[in-house]
Amino acid sequence: MLRLLNRIRRTGIITEPLATGADAETLETLGIEVRRQIDRRLGGSLAIREVDAGSCNGCELEIHALNNAYYDIERFGIHFVASPRHADALLVTGPLSRHMEAALLRTYAATPDPKLVIACGDCACDGGEFGVSYASRGAVENLIPVDIRIPGCPPSPLNLLKGLLAGLKGSG
């Protein structure tokens, strides 16, 4: 047990205020800006229900990473919820597979208004590598209205946050 506590102590807080790469924006300034938008427009918190509507699971890996201690997205007021009934926004990945069509529609219907739909990743934005076929409807907006688009294959956690911020500002 002591070892465990010691490990936690020595790990310390790794949550990043760092400038990342060549970007002038830091994760923290980005996050504060996101926080401000959420406070202004969403009463302080943004509850997201993630829906994989056909993704290759690459986007899911990066969305997961938003919750790791480096990004710690909850500090900006964003959290992922288990039910669409608790959600302000749907974060939809994948080219929309036809087999997920009904499930996505029902999830959308179960999300209370007003709601945001965020298309996450190239496939959700425009069909990506898969496009439209007998099995895929391509972009998510071919089925439900989309408010925010975050391209990338997959978008990195930092780009997810940037996309969210741009979207919140733009759709305001």
């Binding site: 047990m1 070892r3 465990l4 490990r7 936690i8 790990t11 790794i14 993630e50 829906v51 994989d52 509507a53 056909g54 993704s55 290759c56 699971n57 690459g58 986007c59 899911e60 890996l61 990066e62 969305i63 997961h64 990473a65 919750n67 790791n68 201690a69 480096y70 992922f80 288990a82 039910s83 669409p84 994948g94 080219p95 597979s97 036809r98 087999h99 997920m100 069509e101 009904a102 499930a103 029902r106 999830t107 990506g128 590598e129 898969f130 496009g131 439209v132 076929s133 007998y134 099995a135 895929s136 294959c153 997959p154 990195s156």
Partner: protein, 532 residues
């Protein structure tokens, strides 16, 4: 043991059964052997293979065209002693009927139903002929992978939900059902699970997949090799390196293109990085599923560090699109390669410390030990692959038993445990990280200089190739056939998840419903990889 020294005995057994082997080729799908048989003998091929002790690997169809008597091809791959044997037959498209292999190999069940749904091949005596990949996007009687079916299809304006699927039913006092999905409570892929339970105990689990079917096999057709590699890299995002490698290997073998040594070493480095990234994420998640959040935070920290290492190496956190036909896309920055040795040392030291903490927590062991057991007999019967098989006493690993370059230059240790529970699957994955780190050190030390890419040689119409790569989940098989202009005529990829998903149904039996997430995570099948 020399390669294929068992084949003459196998062929003799076929002869004993009066099975006529029409043609054989050691070159067409080299290093696998290809033989052809009559459709009437198809069922008995499975009987011979099972009695011989072959492992079932994959089954896939193909449209063989033909003006006067259009035909469909069906091929099955077996493995014995590290050698792969592909058996092929052709059936008339008007009467595409074959005996099922499922009575002999449980693993053939879902792949045969996939072939039935997409090619319209009827497998007689299939114990469960329900549709599998087909939900509501195309009709009974439409077969998307036949050449006369356009990739755009004629889908209904709104695809109806898959609500009339005849699930197995259980009756009896106190038996109740729990339907879960396709949209799950976490950030995971969609699929449907139907539990029958009494109290907290799971009597039976039935999986219903196919929700993320994206028509990958169909939209691969007509692509250039480069575009195929990009698509293969998105069969399952967490396995982008191994799938792209398998597809490229198939292309390179089909066109007899030699791949530069440096590219092979860098591919292997990437594949081992992919293995470690996934193992790190899953070990943390498994601990989290039994309430040990400390491990989740620590392992996701290590995973994030590791993904940033990927970014430095090739400019992509998940290593996507680095493996391309004929080699790799870009030579890594020398500073990234130089930094990797220290990165490996650091990870090893961090892991040693974390493992000591994990092993120090009896409550963690108590939750993982004995949970979700898969016996060796069941693992063998289902043809289970990768760490799921290796935690249940089955030692198969392509890198050791059927090594492809650069693994053929060294000995790959294959960690195996017998217990078959969640704890054993965690421990095998811990050991696999250790082995991967050692392999990476060798690859770094021996990394050849020189070219990183060789253009694919021109194709001849109809040439085929088979790629076999040990992904982090286990053996991946990819088959390609090319047109004369080098574009894709047929592509098939068998993710190991095809064989590990059925194991999950067995693993959770008699476990409690709340342990399903940890059992599921310990197997971690890819939905996208199996739905195609």
């Amino acid at each position: 043991m020399s390669r294929f020294d068992w084949l003459s005995e196998w062929l003799a057994r076929c002869e004993d059964e009066h099975i006529l082997i029409r043609r054989g080729s050691a070159r067409t799908l080299a290093p696998a052997h290809l033989v052809e048989c009559d459709p009437e003998d198809w069922g008995r091929i499975a009987a011979v293979a099972r009695d011989f002790g072959c492992r079932w690997v994959a089954l896939w169809g193909s449209d063989e065209g033909g003006e006067e008597t259009p035909a469909l091809g069906v091929q099955v791959a077996f493995e014995y002693g590290g050698d792969h044997l592909v058996v092929r037959t052709r059936v008339p498209r008007a009467t595409p009927v074959l005996s099922s292999h499922s009575p002999w190999f449980a693993a053939a069940d879902r792949p045969e139903r996939h072939c039935q749904d997409l090619f319209g091949v009827v497998f007689l005596d299939h114990p469960d002929a329900r549709r599998w990949t087909r939900h509501g996007a195309w009709g009974d009687g439409d077969y998307p992978l036949r050449k006369d079916f356009a990739a755009a299809g004629q889908p209904p304006a709104e695809t109806p939900p898959d609500q009339d699927y005849p699930f197995l039913a259980a009756r009896g006092e106190g038996v109740y059902e729990i339907p879960v999905g396709p949209v799950h409570a976490g950030i995971i892929e969609p699929g449907h699970f139907r539990f029958q339970a009494v109290g907290e105990t799971i009597l039976n689990l039935e999986e219903r997949l196919g929700y993320v079917h994206k028509g990958i096999e169909k939209i691969a057709e007509g692509r250039t090799p480069e575009a195929l590699a990009r698509l293969a890299g998105r069969i399952s995002g967490d396995t982008t390196v191994a799938h792209a490698w398998a597809a490229c290997m198939a292309l390179e073998r089909a066109t007899r293109t030699p791949v530069p040594g440096r590219a092979l070493f860098l591919r292997a480095l990437a594949a081992e990085r992919e293995r470690i990234a996934n193992h790190l994420g899953d070990i943390g998640a498994i601990c989290n599923d039994v309430g040990f959040a400390f491990a989740q935070y620590q392992f996701s920290r290590l995973r994030e560090d590791w993904l940033r290492g990927n970014q430095r190496l090739c400019g992509h956190r998940l290593l996507m699109d680095w493996v391309v036909p004929g080699g790799i896309a870009r030579d890594p920055d020398p500073s990234a390669l130089a930094a990797m040795a220290a990165e490996l040392d650091r990870l090893e030291a961090e892991l040693a410390e974390l493992y000591a903490i994990l092993d120090d927590n009896p409550s963690l062991e108590d939750r993982l030990s004995g949970t979700g057991r898969l016996t060796e007999a069941t693992a063998r019967q289902l043809g289970t692959l990768g760490y799921v098989a290796r935690a249940s006493g089955l030692a198969f690993d392509l890198r050791a038993q059927a090594p492809y370059p650069p693994y053929d230059t060294l000995e790959v240790e294959v960690p195996v445990l017998e217990q078959g529970d969640v704890l054993a699957r965690v421990r095998v994955r811990r050991e696999e990280i250790r082995v991967s780190l050692a392999l990476m050190r060798r690859f770094l030390a021996e990394l050849p200089a020189g070219e990183i890419r060789q253009p694919l040689a021109p194709a001849v119409a109809g040439v085929e190739g088979l790629g076999l790569v040990e992904g982090w989940r286990g053996e991946i098989l990819a088959h390609v056939r090319l047109h004369a202009d080098g574009t894709i005529d047929r592509f098939f990829a068998r993710d190991p998840s095809w064989l590990n998903w059925p194991a999950l149904e067995r693993i959770v039996r008699n476990n409690i419903v709340p342990d399903f997430p940890v059992c599921n995570k310990s197997v971690n099948g890819s939905y996208s990889g199996q739905d195609l």
